[in-house]
Each structure stands twice: as structure tokens, then as C-alpha cells.
Symmetry: C2
Subunit: 280 residues, 2 copies
């Protein structure tokens, strides 16, 4: 059994840490990174054996920064998972709910708990750089009127108390995470991946000519390969041209997917497979 460490972005207790434990087991060592750049650098330099990054949320959409990082690093996607985002109101032990006047969290989390704030108008929302980091801060500074919004894991790690569970407006709030490894790492068994179907993620760019995207999707559709997702990102240095990120059903080594990738390669200026992995 190898002793391994997984990097994630955020403070201890972030939803990314929850995803890392789900993918690699509850006892995996973790390395929190302040920024995604740092996480990608740590994995590229093999200071860690794996990294877990959020790629999209069902309410907020894609994490575009990470699409850009995937393009610029050769770090294959080897697994995915999806974590339901449950926001909890968290305070230092002994601080009762009636004392709370200020709530700290990441702006995205604050915006996902608007019903809570409208039914408690006495409470002020204060933006903080991180959800779990806001729990860490209130446990260090112990404001008598302050609380944080974060995961249950964050409350546990910092020894804080959950005042209200599940205060998010929308329960259909999931974040999808990728597990990345250095290129050429030995294939691993992912917990619970079982025999779930394969997905493949890729990125390509096409010349700006009529029907180019239609023809590119045809390379898949005409082979009955199904698209899961398509995402466009601006192409740096070529204003108003785009890269496309695709997720499709199938493994890159399946014959039909291989043929489709060859066909797509004929149409694309640039094509790279980011990884094949079991669907979450």
C-alpha cells in the first residue's frame, strides 16, 4: 500500500477535501493549497501523488480556471466524483444562534443561502476568501456575534458547533470533482468506481469556418457516441475564437471512440484527450 498525499485548493475542511476523501479513502493525507496554480504545480513536480479539483457546480456552472489549468498541464483525469453541497451555519461552541449578527463565508456560499438571510434580516453577510477558512477564522478570533457557513467536515476539523444544518436554498447543489495524477502514474482502483460506464474528457480547437463545430460533433454523433457536456473557453491571443471541452461516454481505447478521435483530429487544429475515467 502506498502512502499518498492528495492536494486540494482551500483550507482544511473544504468541500474539495470531502471529495478527496471520497475518492481516495477517509485516511488519505491531504495538502491544502491556497491557489489552484499551486495545486497544479505541486502535482506536476510530484510533491503530491494526486490532486482533486472542482470542475463544475450544478448552480454556479463550470470552474473555468481549472479548465484552463487542465489545458496547460499534462495531468490526466483518472476519476470523478460528485459531492452534494450542504451549507451549515457554524459557530464557536457556546455561541447561541440568537447572538449571531455577522456571517462569514465565500461569496458563492453566501449567495446560495439567500432564504436564510431574508428570514434573518438582523444577520449581516460578510465575504470571506474560503468557506472552511471562515470556520478556522471564527475559531481563532471567537467573535461573540460571528458565525460561518461551511461543510460539516470543516466544523468537525476546527471543533466548531453546527447551529443550523442544510441552510442552502437549493438542494440540487452538487459539485463535480476530478482526480488528477501525474502522467504515466500506475492505474489505481478508485473506491466505489465498480463497473460504472467510462467517460472521456477532451479539448479541441477548430478553424473558424462555417459548420466546423457541427462537423466536429458529427465525428461523435455519426458513431452514436453520446456527448455529456460541451464547454467553450476563449482562445488566448485569438480574440473571439474558442476552445471546446467535451465529455463523452466511452473510453479512449474503445474502437469506436478511437475512430471518432481520429476523425475529430482531422477536423481540429488542436486536440488533446484529458483522460478516461469511470463516471461518478
Amino acid at each position: 500500500m502506498r502512502l499518498e498525499t492528495a492536494a486540494f485548493q482551500g483550507e482544511r475542511g473544504a468541500f474539495s477535501e470531502e471529495a478527496a476523501r471520497r475518492l481516495l479513502g477517509r485516511r488519505v493525507n491531504v495538502l491544502p493549497c491556497q491557489r489552484f496554480e499551486e495545486l497544479f504545480r505541486n502535482l506536476t513536480e510530484k510533491k503530491v501523488q494526486a490532486a482533486v479539483v472542482p470542475i463544475e457546480n450544478t448552480l454556479a456552472g463550470s470552474v473555468h480556471e481549472n479548465y484552463d489549468h487542465l489545458l496547460h498541464h499534462d495531468l490526466p483525469i483518472v476519476a470523478e466524483t460528485s459531492v452534494r453541497i450542504v451549507h451549515n451555519l457554524i459557530a464557536p461552541p457556546g455561541v447561541p444562534f440568537r447572538n449571531i449578527r455577522r456571517v462569514f463565508s465565500h461569496p458563492v456560499a453566501l449567495n446560495q443561502c439567500l432564504n436564510f438571510f431574508s428570514s434573518h434580516p438582523r444577520v449581516e453577510r460578510i465575504s470571506f476568501y474560503d468557506t472552511a477558512g471562515s470556520v478556522k477564522m471564527i475559531m481563532e478570533e471567537k467573535p461573540s456575534d460571528g458565525a460561518a457557513i461551511a461543510s460539516e467536515l470543516a466544523a468537525k476539523i476546527y471543533g466548531a458547533h453546527i447551529l443550523k444544518r442544510g441552510i442552502e436554498d437549493d438542494r440540487q447543489n452538487f459539485t463535480r470533482f476530478f482526480l488528477l495524477e501525474p502522467a504515466g502514474a500506475k492505474p489505481r482502483t478508485i473506491r466505489g468506481a465498480g463497473k460504472r460506464p467510462w467517460k472521456t474528457s477532451l479539448v479541441f480547437s477548430i478553424r473558424n469556418i462555417p459548420g466546423a463545430l457541427f462537423r466536429s460533433l458529427g465525428a461523435l454523433a455519426l458513431r452514436d457516441i453520446n456527448l455529456v457536456k460541451i464547454e467553450s473557453r476563449p482562445l488566448r491571443g485569438k480574440p473571439w475564437e474558442y476552445l471546446f471541452y467535451l465529455d463523452l461516454w466511452g473510453h479512449r481505447e474503445d474502437k469506436v471512440v478511437r475512430n471518432a478521435l481520429n476523425h475529430l483530429g482531422e477536423l481540429a487544429d488542436f486536440l488533446r484527450v484529458l483522460g478516461s475515467y469511470r463516471a461518478a
Copy 2:
């Protein structure tokens, strides 16, 4: 001639104000709004006659929040423009460059001037909520060591001094803006729009069935209608399903576009045209 006011998000001097003046003339009245929600509400309630919103940047990508607002409001797109983002280092008059130790601006702007910061390591980057707002702040507080990064217009409006012009890393930095009006407003003449070709923006969703996106793009491609842009956004309440925003060449009243929209309507669960306007 009607006396009109255009809303934009940000402080006076924001790049959005520059876009508004370019679209509506230098002397248009403007209403700065703190948040995009407020801007959309002001236009819906006809407190202003027009609003200007950023929709994508060639480096940072789409402004997804505004795609979501376009979906939820019936405020047609009547024009577009593209503004080159020139970042300037701005200080109160009399503060020389050698004194600058702290630079305030929106995090996106700070991140677009990394070469400047690496060649001046003595200068600290400090995140602020707005580019033009950072100029307003340094002119109010007059720190002896502080500067801001913002537009030339912001320097002019607040009477500040430009210490260095064009400190952005990448000159291919453009933001595309939409001009929105209340539904049913009288068509207007947009300055400089001349006889430039028409574009149409629309949003649709499709059932999650094999080849659905391919067939949808076929409704356009098989009629030789060219796609300018495609963007996906999560469909609220339906995890891992998406809405698609498309820009195509042509006017919604062109016969071929009308046919394509009818065809797309047969395939889509939902389809709405957001507007036809002259290309920038």
C-alpha cells in the same frame, strides 16, 4: 431627441461606462449600479431607457451571471460593442511612481498586469471590489503610497493622474458588451453600426438524448447559417443538464434564420431569441 439614461454596473469610470458612451454617444446620462441584479431591475422597471452589460472577455471568458440574467428578463439585446481593456496605473496628483507600494484594483485587473508586478516586486497587490472604484477610493483617502489600476476614463472622472499607461500583460484584451432595452422599445440608430452584418443571440435547452446538440446545430449548419459562439450553462433544478446560448450570423427576420429557428424549436424543449443586432 429623447433624454435618456443608461444603467451600467460598477462605479463611474468603469469600462462599462466607456462602452455605454461608445454605444449611445459621449453625452448620455448614466446610472451606475452596484450589482447586475439592480441594473436588470432598473431596466425592467423602466427607471432607465437602456443598460449596458459585459458578456465576455477575450481572456477571462464569459460573464455567466449576465447570461443567467438575460434568460430571466425580457430585455432584448439591441446592439453590441467591443472595448479594448487598457489598464493604467493611477495615483492622486503629486504622488510620484517611486512612492507607490500598494496597488488596489479588481482581482481580474490585478491578474491581467502580472508583468508589471513582477518587474516591481516592492509593490503589493490589494484586491478591491471595482477598478474605477479603486480610483475613487485613492482620491478620497489619498494614501501617500497607494495607486489604482483602472481605465483612462476613471482617471479623468476623479481628477487622478495616470502614472503608467497600458500596463496590461496582453493587448488582445477585449470585452464585448450588450446594449439592452425594455421589450417593445422603439428601434434606435446605434452610432457607427452602419451596414455591418446582423447577429442573433438565442438560448435553448434540449432533451438529454443522443445526438441532440448535433441535430440542433444541424438546423443552422444545413442552412449555411454560421455560428459565432456557443456557451453552455447549467439548467437549474436539473443537475448535469445544460442550457445553450448561441450567437449566429443573420437577423431573426431573415427567411433562412426564421426557418432555422422553427426547426430548432422542433428539437428544443425551450427556445428564446434574445435579440438581433448589428455586429460590432
